[in-house]
């Protein structure tokens, strides 16, 4: 017995669920439930996606997060301000400088500290180096998701040089712990400037090399053009930020929109895309690496002399109050909301992570695509579980 239901579709009994694809009726089958992650080669850490599959087609996706949860926000309530600083770069571990930066900005602005200009410049230099490194991973991983290995090795080859540079300054390759309330920990070593200038001369040619290998490849184009489209209004209303937002054509970069530190002294572009697809997001990251090179060069040229930090009391006690400070991290807006009650420890510390927003977009973006596109779109959003799960 069949009768048209409310949608006008033939009701063919219990399993009539998803009866149509592109307007044509299909024979209903059982849907396959598939765990993708936490231990999967391309879920960027420990993201778990529960897929409802119909053949190769993804009907719906449930992202499950929390496999990397360390309770950072609660830990912060039991640490002094300086102790918590060491934990910050352990959140979004590919862009640790930005995590620290947002945190120290919040504390400094609560305490009304004036920074020496050299400290601000050093912050910009290390941060932009860190941005390049993070985009290296983003592009390399994205290509790995698409099944191409060589771009990954090429980006990691150059990431190694950037890592060496940042290690010269901070002494660390990943968990920098470089920022201090009132400045930075160390001044530049003497060998940094020539080495960094050498890198700046070397690197733009390498970006062109990546583009030759990746951007004009027909397979790459057919995998990414028109894939995972986020229209601008959708991106804004979901709260996306960073290259994911700019790929949709929204020119929003905190470095320009709400200039912090000394960014308004530098001359650089904010690259935006037009279509909001995976390709535009990739292209934004490539362009941002070029702009970062420009910023570092200008910062090195105009590097002022002077101290790199101001004296602060050994036990920081910011006055009571609350504050939100954000920086433009490689993955978007990384914000720190801090409530102080005038004591030794933050009363509440809340972080805003851009990857979390991007993950919340996943079910909407992935439904109706194939498994392979799911990986491609997920890779193009550059989500990182370290920041999301905290």
């Amino acid at each position: 017995m069949s009768s048209p239901d409310a949608t006008g579709r033939e009701n063919m009994g219990a399993e009539a669920g998803r009866g149509e694809v592109d307007g044509r009726p299909i024979l209903s089958m059982e849907e396959m439930l598939l765990n993708m992650g936490p231990q999967h080669p391309s879920t960027h850490g420990v993201l778990r996606l529960i897929l409802h599959l119909d053949g190769e087609l993804v009907i719906s996706v449930d992202p499950v997060i929390g496999y990397l949860h360390r309770g950072m926000e609660k830990i912060a309530e039991n640490r002094t301000y300086l102790q918590m600083l060491a934990m910050m770069s352990r959140m979004d571990y590919l862009s640790g400088i930005f995590m620290e930066w947002a945190y120290v900005r919040a504390v400094e602005d609560l305490m009304d500290l004036e920074l020496p200009p050299r400290a601000e410049y050093l912050r910009v230099i290390t941060a932009e180096l860190n941005r390049i490194m993070s985009h290296h991973v983003a592009i390399g991983d994205f290509m790995l998701n698409l099944g191409s290995w060589t771009p990954f090795f090429w980006t990691f080859r150059d990431r190694e040089i950037a890592m060496d540079l940042i290690e010269m300054v901070t002494g660390q390759r990943m968990m920098y712990n470089y920022m201090r309330v009132g400045g930075v920990r160390y001044d530049l070593p003497d060998e940094f400037e020539p080495a960094c200038r050498e890198f700046l001369d070397y690197f733009p040619a390498k970006i062109d090399e990546y583009e030759k290998l990746i951007t004009y490849n027909e397979i790459f184009l057919s995998r990414t053009l028109g894939m995972g489209v986020i229209p601008p209004h959708e991106a804004v209303s979901q709260g996306l930020s960073g290259p994911n937002l700019r790929g949709s054509g929204v020119k929003w970069d905190l470095r320009r929109a709400e200039p912090y530190s000394v960014y308004d002294e530098f001359d650089f572009e904010v690259p935006v895309g037009t279509w909001g697809d995976a390709f535009d997001r990739y292209k934004c990251r490539i362009e941002e690496m070029r702009q970062s090179v420009r910023i570092i060069r200008q910062a090195l040229d105009g590097l002022p002399d002077g101290p790199v930090n101001v004296k602060t009391p050994p036990m920081l006690r910011p006055p009571a109050g609350s504050i939100y400070r954000a920086v433009e991290s490689p993955r978007g807006e990384w914000g720190v909301y801090m409530v102080s009650n005038g004591g030794l420890r933050p009363w509440r510390l809340k972080m805003r992570d851009a990857s979390f927003v991007a993950i919340s977009m996943l079910p909407r973006l992935l439904a109706g695509n194939k498994i392979a596109d799911l990986i491609a779109i997920g890779g193009s959003l550059d989500v990182l579980m370290g920041g999301t799960d905290r």
């Binding site: 694809v21 592109d22 044509r24 299909i26 024979l27 089958m29 059982e30 396959m32 439930l33 598939l34 765990n35 993708m36 992650g37 936490p38 231990q39 999967h40 778990r48 529960i50 119909d54 053949g55 190769e56 087609l57 194939k370």
Partner: protein, 122 residues
């Protein structure tokens, strides 16, 4: 001189038997020297580190069956093509024209399937 083809086929048969024996031998020898320690967790099918949800063997939409049907048609076509290619000279123009009509019909079928959207992956 005509080569003795029956002898050749016999050697193919013997070689395939030797092949199977070789594989079983290698696997058996490997089994003898390896340490075996299996427990249920190790033997659970891999599904990214969590217990599998649902069964892998369910009525499952295999969208490739259209391609399988088309493949069957073209496979049969090729079986006709091979003898034609071999006797091309002796068949002459008549054989050529006949084959062109045959290929034309097949090509029409392909274009029809294309037009109907059978070549789209749904």
């Amino acid at each position: 001189m005509t080569p003795d083809y029956s002898h050749s086929y016999l050697s193919v048969a013997v070689l395939s038997i030797l092949d199977v024996l070789f594989i079983l031998g290698v696997l058996g020898f490997s089994r003898l020297i390896q340490r075996r320690h299996a427990y249920p967790e190790k033997l659970t099918p891999y599904e990214c580190g969590v217990p599998p949800i649902g069964d892998a063997r369910i009525p499952f939409a295999v969208r490739y069956y259209i391609f399988a049907l088309l493949f069957l048609i073209f496979e049969v076509e090729a079986v006709f093509l091979f003898p034609w290619a071999m006797t091309f000279d002796s068949l002459g123009t008549g054989g050529f024209v006949a084959m062109m009509i045959f290929i034309g019909v097949l090509l029409f079928g392909l274009i029809y399937a294309w037009g109907r959207g059978a070549l789209e992956w749904v």
